[in-house]
Structures are given as C-alpha cells and as structure tokens.
Amino acid sequence: MVKCSCGKRAIIYVKVKGKYMCEDCFLRYFERTALNTIRRHKLIDKRDKIAVGVSGGKDSLALLYFLNEHFDNEIFGIFINEGIKGYREITSKDLRKYCKRFGVECYEFSFKEEIGMTLDEMVKRGRLKPCSYCGVFRRYLLNKKARGLGATKLAMAHNLDDEAQTILMNLFTNDVKRFMRLGYMTGIKTHPKFVPRIKPFRLLYEKEVLVYGLLKGIRVTYIQCPYAEQAYRVRIAHVLWKLERKYPLLKYNVVKVFDPKLRELKERAKDEELRECKICGEVTNRDICKACEFKRELKIPIS
C-alpha cells in the first residue's frame, strides 16, 4: 500500500510537491494552494463582491464551493446558457442542484435573449468555428452581467491545464494580444466597465480539481460539448496529456516558465488604452468590440 507521509492510504500523487497524499492531506494541500494564490496575488479584497462564472461543470462548481466556504464576501454565480441543444439542459440541471445545496444564488442569462440567437443558430449562419462565437459572446455577457449585478471581481475556474493550453495556443498562433488574458488576474488597465477576472485555481491541475470536487461530494453528469472536437484547444489538450504522462510537471513548467514573460508583456502593454465600443458601449481595446463585429457578421440587429 502506498502511504501518505501521515501514514494513511494515499489516493493521489501530487506532482508539484512530489508527494503521495491521503484524502485529508490532499484537501489541505488543495485549499492552501488556492488560498496562497489568492493572498499572494491579492485576488480578493474584503470589500469585493464576487461573481463566479459557472457552467454546471465540475471546475466551476468546485470553485463556487471553495469560495463560498472560505470567504465571507458576497458570492453568487453567473450562468450563461449558449443554447447548445442536448448539452446545456443537462449541465444547468446539475448547476441548479448544487447552487441550492451550497445556498448560493445563481443568475442565468441566455445567448438567445441577450444576443438574439442561440449558439446552434450562429453555427448554422456564421462562417467561423463555434468556439469563436461562444468565447466572445460568453466573455462579453459575463463582464456585462457581473458589472450589472454589482460584482467587483469575476472568478473563473481556469486551472493549470487550461492555462498551459492557452499559453501554447497563443504561442502557436503568434497571438501576443491574447496573452493579456492570462495570469492570476486578467486585464492590464482598470476601467469602470471592466470587472477584473481572477483565477484562484491557476496552479492546480485539472485532475486535482476533479478529485477535490469528488471528495466534497460534487459529482456532475459527464457530458462533452458537441462542438468540443472542433476546438483547437482540445487538440492541444490531447497532445499535452500524452506529453505530461511522459514528462511529469510539463504543464506546470509551461505556466511557470511563462509567468515572468507575461509580467513583461503586461508591463509593455500598459499604455494600451481601454475604451468603450462605439456601438454598444461595452469595454474593448478596439473601436468596435468583437461582439458587435460578430453580430454584424451574423446579421443580428445591433441595438
């Protein structure tokens, strides 16, 4: 039997620590890592009102649970229903169940009502991949709704795997501007219309987030987005899984080696101006925001 250093049966090997851990030691490690991330990078202030971007998946529910357990701040969930048939109906059911269990309020918004079209309809009409529309409109709505509900921080459940994938995706596509979305807290400049996004799980492996959730009684229905296979991210993720098996800590090293570079890039981009979209008034670094650009392309009336 493989044992934890405390003598109990180990359930997981924590690569970052090079240690086998039992349930109790793992839970302590997990929560300490997330709390240290929050403290070290000043992600949460006592006065913050925190919106958590939730999907009904294991990661966002684990984050909602964790923040609600450890912070006295006002915390609520924001769920964006993109309108993906056969997928969101199931995850939203799990979401409602767990929000009720945690005693946390969750606000729901849909692409259909807010943008004027479901993602399924966009995919039929548009020429881009589903994830392009989904990502832009979801970010747009999350920021707008978080601000509208008075949130001062928007917590996202991005984990170490997500972050490593994003770094490599942006690197492979030479997309320096998108690097600004990375880091513990995104955004370079403050703007009254921009709600800073925080990532307390950024240094935790996705597998660790799943184990944490399971140990806390969060077991959601397994379901894959029907568009996931078309996503560039998923292809990168497959490669990383194989490499990580051969070279443990690979994803951690990708994130860690990139952090000083990210600070440099953010420093250099400090003068870049954040402005308001000439059409919708939402915050953007362009004249017309990406959401309005996509609406035009999809022939959705712009109000």
């Binding site: 359930i11 597998k207 799943l210 399971l214 397994y222 894959q224 568009y227 899984w241």
Partner: protein, 66 residues
C-alpha cells in the same frame, strides 16, 4: 471485474486473475491513467493500487464540458 466507463455509461467486464495494478488494466484498455480518476469500490484510489476480480471500478474522465 465490473468496470463502469463514466463517459458513455457502459459497463464492461474485465477478467482479472489474482491481483493486478490498476495502471496496467487501464493501459491494456488503451486508457492513459493521467486523464482519469479511478474509483474502486466507491473510494478514490491511485493508479498504483491493485484490483481483484470481485472489485468494481468507475473510470471518470478528467476533461468534461467544452
């Protein structure tokens, strides 16, 4: 041994003679243990644990959603 694949809810039978390490069982099924969490007889276990024919395994993929 009964194995439940969480992603397609399929239950499959895997014959185990004596005791075998979970890691080996998964690899023979073409599964990268890195990408899954294993539940043996309702408890989370490491891939280094051994199983016997009377055990029940549930294999949960780490990646779900989008």
């Amino acid at each position: 041994m009964r194995v439940l694949r969480e992603w397609d809810k399929r239950q499959i039978e895997v014959k185990i003679k004596g005791r075998r390490m979970i890691r080996r069982v998964l690899e023979e099924m073409g599964i990268n243990p890195e990408e899954y969490v294993i539940i043996k007889n309702k408890r989370i276990v490491g891939e280094w644990e051994e199983v016997k024919d009377s055990d029940e395994l549930v294999i949960i993929p780490v990646v779900s959603g989008g």
